[in-house]
Point group: C2
Chain length 493, copies 2
C-alpha cells in the first residue's frame, strides 16, 4: 500500500482543468489560469538559468503584485523553497532572516533592490532584472507536489528574542485550503479580495486557494479601505480576509457614506487576534458576514473558524476547528473542561513540522502533534473557542505580531541602556502599539528612537520611551511586564 502524499502541481493542473477562468485581477489587468501557467513556466525557466532547483532557498521581498505571484509559483515549479520576507523589515532584519534560512538568492520588487545590496551577501534580483534572463529551455518542472516537502518559510517572532523560521509544507497549505473549503464552501463565482500581504500566511493562503479551487483573486498592492470598499461594491467580491484595524476603517467608511455591501459578499474572514466586540456588533448591524477566525503562521492560516450558521449568533467566538483539526485547552498539563480558560493547543495537518534549525523551540512547542500556541482561551459547552489573549506579552499592531523580547534585545544592545522593558498599549488606530521603559544615562528619546529605527521595522519601534530608574522585577529577577502596563496607565492618567 502506498501513502497518498503526492498531488498534481496545483497551478499546472488548474491550468489544464479550467484554463479560461480568470485567476488574478490587479487594476485593469486580468490573467487566466492558462496565461498564468505560461508566465510561470517562463519564470521557472529564468530561475532555473540562475541555478535555482529542488531545495534551493529563495528569499522573496515584495509588495503584492502579479509578478510576485508568478515567482511564488515558479519556485514551486522548480521545487525550491520560498522564504517570504516582511516588506516592513529593515535591511538588517532581512539580512538576518536570509542568513538564518540559508537563502541562496533574493528576489525583490523594484522598490528594494538598491538599498539592500549593501548588507546582503547573496545575489539579489529585482523582477525587472529577472525578465531579462534567458529562460532555461530544458527546465524540468515538478509535475507533482509531495505534500511532505517544504514549500515556504515565514518568520515569526517569539518570546525568546530573534524571529523563528516556520516551516510550511505543501501539505500544510493544501489541507488549509481544503479545510477552509469544507467550512466556507466553494462557489463557482467566488472571488477573493487579497488586500493582506502575501508574505503573511493570511495573504499567501488566498493564492493557494486560488489555484486549488480555481478561484479568481483580486490583488491589491496593500490595504486601502477606499479601494477595498470600491472593489467590494463594484467587482463582485465574495470573500475577503482582514484584521480588525482594517475592518474598522472599512466600516467607518461605509457608515460615513451610508452604503451597504452587496449580498454577494458572503464572507469577511476576520483574523489577527480577538476582535473588539463593538466592531463585531457594528458588523452585525450592517449585515456584514463577519467570520471570526483563529490561526497563525504555524497553522498555515486559519485553524478555527465560525461556520456560516454561527457567524451571527456566536459573536466573539473564533468558532470550531476546521474539519481536519482539533483543539484542546490545557492548564498545568491537564485538559480543561468547557468554560475553563487555559492554553490553546491545536492539532491537524496544517500544523508546522517545526521551526527551522531550532529543534529545542520545536520540541517545546509541538508535543505529540499538538502545537502549544501560548495563547489563552476557553471553549464553551458547545465547543466554540473564545480567545482571551494572544501569546503572553504579544503585541498585535495593525495585524502585525510584535514580541517585546525582540525590541528589548535591540534596546539592550545600545551601549548606554542597561535595562529595557516593552509592553503594548491600546491604540485607537492600530489596536496596540509598543512602548518602552529603559534604564540608561545621558540619553534622549530621540536617540533611542533613531537607534531602534535603524534596526527594527517601523511598526516595532516604540511609540513612547519612558526613562525609569529601575524596572519592576520579581524575586527571581524576572521582568514584570504587567507592572509596566500599570505605569503607563499612571502616566496617561
Amino acid at each position: 500500500m502506498l501513502v497518498q502524499q503526492e498531488v498534481p502541481n496545483w497551478l499546472l493542473q488548474r491550468a489544464f482543468l479550467t484554463p479560461n477562468r480568470v485567476a488574478l485581477k490587479m487594476g485593469e489587468r486580468e490573467i487566466t489560469f492558462s496565461s498564468l501557467h505560461t508566465q510561470v513556466l517562463q519564470m521557472a525557466g529564468r530561475l532555473s538559468t540562475l541555478g535555482i532547483q529542488k531545495g534551493t532557498k529563495v528569499g522573496l521581498l515584495s509588495h503584492n503584485s502579479i509578478e510576485m505571484i508568478e515567482v511564488i509559483h515558479a519556485i514551486k515549479y522548480l521545487g525550491g523553497v520560498t522564504v517570504l520576507l516582511n516588506t516592513r523589515l529593515t535591511a538588517n532584519e532581512i539580512a538576518w532572516q536570509l542568513q538564518d534560512a540559508n537563502t541562496e538568492f533574493l528576489v525583490t520588487d523594484s522598490t528594494f533592490s538598491t538599498s539592500l545590496h549593501i548588507v546582503i551577501n547573496i545575489p539579489v534580483f529585482s523582477f525587472d532584472t529577472l525578465y531579462d534572463i534567458q529562460p532555461d529551455e530544458n527546465v524540468r518542472i515538478q509535475e507533482e507536489f509531495n505534500l511532505m516537502d517544504i514549500d515556504t518559510i515565514m518568520y515569526t517572532s517569539g518570546t525568546t528574542g530573534k524571529p523563528k523560521g516556520v516551516i510550511q509544507t505543501y501539505g500544510n497549505h493544501y489541507w488549509s485550503s481544503i479545510g477552509s473549503a469544507l467550512n466556507l464552501g466553494i462557489h463557482q463565482d467566488d472571488c477573493w479580495l487579497a488586500c493582506v500581504p502575501f508574505f503573511h500566511v493570511s495573504g499567501l493562503s488566498i493564492l493557494m486557494k486560488s489555484v486549488i479551487y480555481g478561484m479568481k483573486v483580486i490583488v491589491q498592492e496593500q490595504f486601502d479601505h477606499i479601494k477595498v470598499n470600491r472593489a467590494i461594491m463594484e467587482e463582485n467580491v465574495t470573500m475577503i480576509s482582514v484584521v480588525s484595524t482594517m475592518l474598522t476603517q472599512m466600516v467607518d467608511h461605509l457608515e460615513r457614506f451610508h452604503f451597504r455591501y452587496p449580498a454577494s459578499l458572503r464572507c469577511v474572514l476576520l483574523g489577527g487576534g480577538p476582535a473588539p466586540k463593538v466592531l463585531l456588533e457594528k458588523g452585525k448591524e450592517y449585515n456584514i458576514p463577519v467570520f471570526q477566525t483563529y490561526g497563525m503562521t504555524e497553522t498555515a492560516s486559519q485553524i478555527v473558524t465560525l461556520a456560516p450558521e454561527d457567524s451571527l449568533n456566536k459573536l466573539g467566538s473564533a468558532g470550531k476547528p476546521l474539519f481536519h483539526s482539533q483543539i484542546k485547552i490545557i492548564e498545568n498539563g491537564e485538559e480543561q473542561p468547557a468554560m475553563k480558560a487555559g492554553e490553546i493547543v491545536v492539532k491537524g495537518p496544517t500544523v508546522t513540522y517545526g521551526y527551522l534549525n531550532q529543534p529545542e523551540a520545536t520540541q517545546s512547542s509541538i508535543k505529540e502533534g499538538w502545537l502549544h500556541t501560548g495563547d489563552i482561551g476557553y471553549v464553551d459547552d458547545e465547543g466554540f473557542l473564545f480567545v482571551l489573549d494572544r501569546r503572553k506579552d504579544l503585541i498585535i499592531s495593525g495585524g502585525e505580531n510584535i514580541y517585546p523580547a525582540e525590541i528589548e534585545g535591540v534596546l539592550l544592545s545600545h551601549p548606554k541602556i542597561t535595562e529595557a522593558g516593552v509592553v503594548g498599549i491600546l491604540d485607537e488606530k492600530w489596536g496596540q502599539v509598543p512602548v518602552a521603559f529603559v534604564v540608561g544615562v545621558e540619553l534622549t528619546s530621540q536617540e533611542v528612537e533613531a537607534y531602534c529605527k535603524a534596526q527594527l521595522a517601523k511598526y516595532k519601534v516604540p511609540k513612547q520611551i519612558y526613562f525609569v530608574s529601575s524596572l519592576p522585577r520579581n524575586a527571581t529577577n524576572k521582568l514584570q511586564r504587567h507592572k509596566l502596563q500599570e505605569l503607563v496607565k499612571i502616566d496617561k492618567g
Copy 2:
C-alpha cells in the same frame, strides 16, 4: 516528519462542527448530524456486543434506508470493514461473495433475513433484531480514521468469471469527496438526492460527501422517476446522481407534463457508461445541468467529470480528471496523442489498492499506480475524455455492470450445455440486456432460463437463448463475441 494519514472520524467531527444541520431526510423523517451520531453510537454499541471490532468484515444487504446508513457509519466507528452486497443478487451469489470476503456477520433489512439463512453459514441479523441487542457500554470508537485503512469492499464482475472484491480505503472515499468538491463546489444549501443504491459506489459516495461536507441527503429507497421528479420540484434538491436509463425516464416525465426543473438544481451527475447523444441534447433543450462523468467501483466513483463551464459545450465528453487524478490513453503500451483511441488508464488517490485475495488480477490491472480500466476512449486536443466503449464485452443494463464471462460460467455449469457465449444487445428501456448462445442437446429456453434464474441476479439472466450448433471462434479457439452480435442482427432482421 509525519505523513498525514489520519483525519477525524467524519460523522463524529461533523456532528461536533454542525450538529443542527439536517443530515438525512427520508419520507417525512428528518435527522440532524447530531441525532445521526447518537443513533450511530448506539448502533456501534450493539455491533460491539456482537463482537464486531477493528478489522471485522460485516456483510450489508439492504435497500436504501436510514437504518442502513446507521449501520454503515457504525461499522466505521468500530473500524470494521463493510462488504456491500447488491440486493439483486441470488442467495448463492451472496453466499459466494460473503465467503470470498471472509465475512463474519451479515446485516440485512427485513426483506432478506428469512430466505438467506439456508445458504449462509454466518450469523445473519436484520435491523430489527439488531435494535433488540443491548449496546456495549464500554464500546471504544475510532476517533480518527486512518486514510490507508480498508473501509468498504464492493464486488465487481470481471472478464475472468467470478466477481472480484474491490478494496476501498477511507482515503479512496475521502479524496473522492474532496476531488468532487473541487470540481462541483460546495454550497451551504446543497442537498443531494440519493436514488441510486448505497451498495453501489455511486450511492455510497453521496453518504461520504454528506458527512464530509455537512450536506443534507434525501434518501429514496429505490429509483422511481415520479418520486425523483417530485423531490426535485418540491424539496430544493441541488444535486442528484443518475444513470442514463433513469435520466431518460425523468426527462420523458418532464416532457409529458410540460414542466421544468427549478434553477436550484445545479448538478445532475450522469454516470454508468457513455450516454446517448439524444438524451444529452434533450437535457440541454430542457436546461438540465447534466454533468457527464466517468468512474467505476475501482476509483471510488467519479474520477473524470465535466466542469460547470463545460457541461453544455462539451456534449458527449465525460470531462477532465478530478483535481488529484490523471488519465492517459494507452495503445500497445504507448501513450496516445490527442484524438487517438486506446485503453483509458487512470491514476490518483481514489484508485483502489487492488482486488481482495487476487494478487494476479491486481497486478495485471494496476501498474505503477495506474489502473488499466479496459475501457476504450480518447482525449480531445483540450484534454477532454470521450469514452467510446466500456470494458471489453461489458454489458451495462440500467446502470448495472454485467460481464458475459460470469453468465457463461453459469451456463457452462449446466450438465447439458457444452458451449456458451453471451453478448449485450441494445434495449430501449435498459440500454442493454444480455442474450446467450448455447450449444447443447435436449434443452429448452425455459429450462436454461430457470437454471440461470436460480443462480444469477435477475438483471443478469439472458433475455433470449439462441441454440446453435457451434460458436464462432478464432484460430486460438477464443470466442469471437463480435460475431455473436452479428448473429443477433441477422435474427432481428
